[in-house]
C-alpha cells in the first residue's frame, strides 16, 4: 500500500477493525438486531485517482447518496460515503423494524438513516485515531445529497487533499446486506499524522 509500510498497513487494518467493532456494536444496540461489518477492500490512493476509482465501483444504472462529513483539528479531512439508494432503503427498512416512525419509502427517512450510519462509521474511524493519539477532533454535521460525478472531480480540483483511504464496507444487519464505499480524504499533514498514529499503535498495542 502506497506510502505505508507493511507494518503500518497491518496496523491500519487492526485499528479500523476495532473501530468497526465499536460501530457494529453500536448499530446492534441501536436497532436491537444482530449486525456485522466487513471491510472487503482497503487501500490508499492518490487524490488524482479518486474519480477513476469511484467510476470503477459505481453502477451507472443506480442512484447513489453522497454523504460527506468534515473533520478538523489534529486530523483534517473529509469522509465521503457513497451508498446506493437500494442499500440506503434496505438500511432504513432495518431501522424501521424497531422505530415505527420510520418509513423506508420516505426520502427524508432514508436520508436520516444514511446520515446516521455514515456518521457512526466516520466517528468510529476518526474517533479511534483521536483516542489513540489523545487528541481532539471536531466533526461538522454530515451533509447528504444525490451523487454527481462532477462533484467528485471538484474534490480533486483546488483542494488540499493528497491521499485517500479507500474502504469498501459491507454491513450485514440481520442478513440484509448493505454496501457502502467510504473514502477518507486526508490533507498532506494529516496523512503524516495518521502514519504517526499508526506507528504509535504499533509501538504500544501491536503484537
Amino acid at each position: 500500500m502506497e506510502n505505508l509500510s507493511e507494518l503500518q498497513t497491518e496496523a491500519m487494518g487492526e485499528l479500523f477493525n476495532i473501530a468497526y467493532g465499536l460501530a457494529t456494536s453500536l448499530i446492534s444496540d441501536s436497532i436491537g438486531m444482530h449486525s456485522s461489518m466487513y471491510v472487503t477492500e482497503m487501500e490508499i490512493i492518490d487524490i488524482e485517482n479518486l474519480a477513476d476509482t469511484i467510476a470503477g465501483v459505481i453502477d451507472g444504472d443506480k442512484e447513489y447518496y453522497h454523504v460527506s462529513q468534515v473533520f478538523l483539528n489534529y486530523l483534517e479531512g473529509e469522509t465521503v460515503m457513497l451508498m446506493s439508494r437500494e442499500s440506503a432503503a434496505a438500511l432504513t427498512e432495518c431501522y424501521s423494524r424497531i422505530d415505527d416512525m420510520l418509513d423506508d419509502s420516505s426520502e427524508e427517512d432514508i436520508k436520516s438513516c444514511t446520515l446516521e450510519i455514515s456518521n457512526i462509521i466516520t466517528s468510529a474511524l476518526i474517533g479511534r485515531i483521536a483516542d489513540l493519539t489523545n487528541t481532539e477532533i471536531f466533526f461538522q454535521p454530515p451533509e447528504i445529497k444525490p451523487y454527481k460525478t462532477s462533484e467528485i472531480h471538484d474534490l480533486r480540483r483546488g483542494s488540499e487533499f493528497s491521499q485517500v483511504i479507500v474502504i469498501k464496507v459491507i454491513i450485514d444487519i440481520d442478513s440484509t446486506e448493505i454496501k457502502g464505499h467510504m473514502y477518507v480524504l486526508l490533507k498532506e499533514q494529516s496523512f503524516s499524522r495518521f502514519k504517526e498514529a499508526l506507528d504509535y499503535f504499533i509501538e504500544h498495542y501491536a503484537g
Binding site: 441501536s30 424497531i98 416512525m101 436520516s112 456518521n119 474517533g127 466533526f139 454535521p141 454530515p142
Partner: protein, 781 residues
Amino acid sequence: MTAPNYLDHILNGAMVLDEQCTVLFWNHWLEIQTGIKRGDIVGNSLYDFFPDINKKLIERKLRQVYALNTPAFINAEAEKYLLKIPSKKISGKIYDYMLQNVVISAYDKKERYTLFMIYDQTSLLEARVRLETSTRLLEEQHSLLQNTLDFQANVIFVMDDNKIVNYNNNFLEVFGYDSVERVNSGERDLLSYVSAEKNENLNDIYGSFNNFILDSLNRNRLNKISVADKNTGRETTFLFSVRKMPENSTIIVSMTDITLLQNREKVLQDINLELSRRYEDKNTELKKLNFDLARNRDQLRIAQEVASIGSFEYSCATGSIFLSHGLKIIFDNPDIAALSLPDVLAYLKPEYRKAVSDKVALACREGGDFSAYAEIVSKKGVEKPIGIHCRVFGSMDEGRRLTITMNDLTNIKQLENQIKDREQLVSSLFDVADIGFVITDRSGVIFRVNSAFLSMTGYESDDLIGASLDKLHIESYKSDYGQYERDDKDALSEVTLTHRNGAKLYAYMNVSTFKGQDEDEYRVLALTDITDRINLLSEQKEQEQLLIQQSKMAAMGEMIGVIGHQWKQPLNSMSLILDNIKSDVEDDMLDMEMLNIGIDRCLEQIHFMSETIDDFRSFFSHETVVSAFDLKSTVNNTVRLLSPLFERHGTKIDIVSELDKNVYVTGIANEFKHTLMNLLSNSKDAISSRILNDTRFKGRITIFMSVEDSSVFITVCDNGGGIPEKVLSHIFKPYFTTKGDKGTGIGMYLAQIIISKKMNGSITAENKGEGACIRITLPVS
C-alpha cells in the same frame, strides 16, 4: 445544575438532558422560541413538553455519543427538527415549523449528561428551496429559450470575451459538435472556422473572432462569411449581424444562410454571361458567314476558271440570263453581253443548238435536270468540247430558274488521250518483260496477263482472261533451291503451277495488292520461272550423293586396310597354333587336352575377327534416317576402329573430352563417322609424310570435345605440320587436294556439306602448334 452563562447569550438553542431525557438546562433562546420558561421545564421530562419527539431516535443518538465519544447529529434536511417549534415568520413562510440542525455531544460523561445544541436552519433551507425553485424556473426558461433558438433557421450564438456561452443546434451543425469545447478551451479560435469574401486572411487582420465581430459592429455593416463543412468541404455563405448587450460585454451573433440566394444570383449572372457570350458567338458566326459567302463567291469564280467551268442562270418566265465570269472565259469573250438564251446558244455548233434548246424548253416546262454534250466555237474560233449540266430550281407557279453549267472538256480530252498513250506504253512494257505477270480482281478472276506469262505456261490470252486463278493450280512449294541461292528468303514465295500441257513448273511468285481510286482491290502476281534451276539443283544433289558414295567407297578401302591389319595378328596366331598342332601330331605328342586348348585359342581369335567384321558392317550400313545420336560414343567407336591401324603407322589418337554426360546431335550418324574418319585420315597422311623424313617421329592426333550453351565442339588437332597458309582458304572447295594423285579432293568438301547443310553446324580449319586443327561446331539436340 448550573450551566455556563454564555449559553444564555448565544443565538442558538442549548439544552442539557440526563439519560432519561429530563431537562437539566434550558437556555434563554429556547425560552423565547418555545415560549416555555426555564423554570417550568427544568426538572421535567422533555417528552412531557414535546410529545412528538422520536424517542427511539434520541435513544440511538445518545447511545452513539457515549459509545463512540463523538457527537451525534440531527439533520434539518432529513429529520426536519427535534423540538416542534412553530415558525415565527409571518411573510414568505414555507415551513410551519422551525427546521433544526442538532449537535448532540456529551456534557458530563461521568453523569451522562448530554448537551443538545439546536441551530435554526429554517431561513437557510427556505432560501435553498426558493433558490431551487428559481433555478428550476430559470432552467425552464433557458430550455424554452434554447428551444426557440434551436427552432430558428439562423445560426445564433452568444459570445462573451471570446468564449461561446450559448448557441443553438444550427451552430453545432455548422461549426461542428466539438467546436464549443475547442473554442472555450482556447484550443481553436472561431475565426479559424470561417473565411471571408475576396480571400482576406481574417486571422492576420483581426487575430480573433471577437475582434472581427467587434469591428463589423463598430462599422455597423453587414458582413458575409463562409464556413466550410469539415466533412464535405462544401462552403456555406452566411450574412451575419451582431448585437452587443448594453449592460455587459456579451455579443449575440446571428448568421443567415444565403448560399442559396447567392447561388441563384450567381446562376442569373452565369445565364446573363452565357447569353451575351452566345450573342457574341452568333454575331461572330454571322460575320464569318458573310465573309465566307464573299470568299466562296470568289472561290467559285476562281474554281470555275481553274476547272474551266462556266455557268449561267436562265429565268424560264422572263427569259433573262446571267452569265458567270467562267463562261465568258470559255467563250474567249470577257466582254460578252448576252441578253438571251439564243445569244448563248449561238456559240454552239449548229448541229447541237436545237437539241440543247429543246432540253432547256422541256426543263422549263416540266422540270427535271439534264446533261448533254456539245461543241462550241469560241470567239477566237477555237473548237471546244463542252459538258452541259442543268439544274432546275423553283416550281412552275413561282417561275422556274435553270442553272446551266458548261464544262470545258478540252483538257480532259487531252488527258484522256495522254492516258491512252501511256496505257499503251505500259502495256508494251508489260509484254516485253521476261517476268510473267497476272492481274486479278479481288475475287481472283484474271483480267490481264502478259506475254511472258503466256509463254511460260503455254496458254493463250483468251484461255486465261475471265478465268479463275485456280485454273493455274498454283501451290506453295519449298525447294532446297532457296537455301543455296537466295538470301532474301521472305520476299518471295516458291510455288508450282501447271503448264497447259500438264507439266509442273517451278516459279518464284511475288504478290502485290493495289487499291484503285474506286476502292477496288487488284492483285498483281509476278512469276519468275525457276524450273530449270530447280532441275539443276536436283542434279547437283544427286552429284553430291554420288560424291558421298565415292567417299564411302574410299573409306571402305581405308577400312579394308584396317581390317587387314586387325586380322593379321589373329591369323598369325591361328597359323602358329595350327603349326604347333601339326608338329605335335607328327611327333605323336598331341593329346585331347592340348587339342582342346589349341581349338579354344583359335576360336578366341575367330571371335575377335568376327567382332572386327561387325564393326565394319555397322560402319558402312546404309543408314539414311536423320536422328539424334550420342556424339561421345560415336567418336569413341570410330577411334576404337581406327586406332590399331593408326598406331601401326606411328600415330596415336587421344580423346580429351569435357563432356560429363551424353550429348546428342542430330544427323545421320554414319555420315558424321565418315567425316571424322576423313579428318583423322588426313591427319594420318600428314603425319606419315613427317615420319618418312624422320622415322623416330611420333605422330599424335588429339580429339577435343566440349560443350558450351547449346553448341558442342569437336576439334581434331594433329602434329602433322599443318596446312600451307595459301591453301587454307581452299580446302573446303570440291576437287581441291594437296595429295596429288593420292587425293580425290572431295573429302573436306563433303565434310563441309555434311556438317553445314545436313547437320546445321559449321566447320573451320586453322594451324595450331605443330599441325592443323579442324573445328566442328554442332547444335546440341
